[in-house]
Amino acid sequence: MQQTFEIVVIGGGPAGIAAAVAASQSSKRVAVLDDNPRVGGQIWRGGPGLAQPKAAARWFYQLETANVRVFNGARVIHADASARTLQAETTREIFPIGYQNLILATGARELFLPFPGWTLPNVMGAGGFQALVKSGLPIAGKRVVVAGTGPLLLAVAAYLCDHGANVARICEQASSSSLAAFALRMLAFPGKLREALSLRYKSRFAKYATQSWPVSAHGKISLESITISESGRLREIPCDYLACAFHLIPNTELPRMLGCHLNQEAFVETDELQQTLHQGIYCAGEPTGIGGVELSTIEGRIAGHAAANDKRAAAKLFPARARYRKLAAAMKQAFRLRPELATLAKPDTFLCRCEDVTLHQVRQHNSWKSAKLHTRCGMGPCQGRICGAAANFLFGWNIESARPPVFPARCESLAAISSLTSSLTTETEPPQFHGGFQ
């Protein structure tokens, strides 16, 4: 039996929770579908069960007390905009959900760039490593290097120090002058500046190096040490874990599959009510531009109110959104990736980790499509989420359309979605199911 809701929110992070709570205030029937075992997204990972910031606790309480149906551990593998139906898969079943209005709050993931040794166990994302620690990985006494770029590095380092890790270094690829310019612009956001200072205080025993990035990781069966470049000099640091990511990229696979228009910077384009060019499909949070948790919740609230047809409540939030978009713009400028990062991978470094395709193999081609067809790069289970983003940075390639299933799915799920022929026949290319399992 298909359940239908007036408003369906995809993603249970800050934007999704705020959207659902706001929409429910207009007495709409609202559902949230979230891929994770608990709501909270990545930044509030672990949900209400864990110690969370005050703002998170408030939102969790509001979500619990609102009339919102939450589906945990449910990933949307197909969406049919004309039938207004989604297909969601859990580890046990596949089920359809109908909607009148849809709010996409699919969040962001970290950008990973290949360098020799990046496939070794214990080389992980920065937020990814934090997520594992939040999920119960003990790290007391472990030696960790935090590397990459963005404000997240400081937050991760502070969290790890709080949990007893020995953070050997924080390697920020940006220069000290661009960080200084960013700090100046942060003066307009005293709360955020205080937060940054407190994070730095918590991680004060870790050296914070600017113009610094990982060059290679070493180890026999798992990570033993890394070589970093620091202001032009190479230095080897022994460590148990490398937590490394080059800031965030939006999860736009589902919006793209629904036909939402992306702007030049590959973010989902929306109007002032967070509505995409598709009537009835809204988008909020990181997919519309990387802006952090405050901007995400504001956009989520606007989308929720707008989808529930309360435009007045939505419009009240426009000034707050404009303010936090300024911070997002400053962040983008400060943590722009330096071109040297595109030269770290060697010819024999795997670019595609799913199919073990080397940089050399991929470089023989002049487009993502050609590389995919000839090398299987991007054809594995991650469907190009990791290597596609890296190839976009390395070669400037346009990573094209998304097709169903949005995630690898079980055969029974593929059978269920292939019965939705209406959407498949509107695809510009013939449907090709890739990454299907069993």
Partner: protein, 81 residues
């Protein structure tokens, strides 16, 4: 709710805090989730459900992302395939 959960990774018991994901249980035991197509050991990368490096078999269902599944008592996890 009990404080800890015991699961089995390739038949060896591992005890993790309640709420821990399967990825954590694997990292505390074999530290390898899967073997890549060219034979390399692989472990979690993104830990957020995007990269699929952490996929394992859980209770005879293959290719599940261990970072997205919470441990349940007596779960049988197979890694290294």
């Amino acid at each position: 709710m009990p404080e800890n959960v015991t699961v089995y990774v390739n038949d060896l018991p591992v005890t993790v805090p309640t709420g821990a994901t399967v990825a954590v249980a694997v990292m505390l035991s074999s530290n390898v989730c899967r073997t890549s197509v060219s034979g390399e050991p692989r472990a979690p990368l993104c830990a957020m459900g995007a990269c699929f490096e952490c996929r394992v078999e859980i209770n005879e269902v293959r290719h599940l992302r261990s970072c997205q599944v919470a441990c349940e008592p007596q779960m049988k996890i197979k890694v290294g395939r």
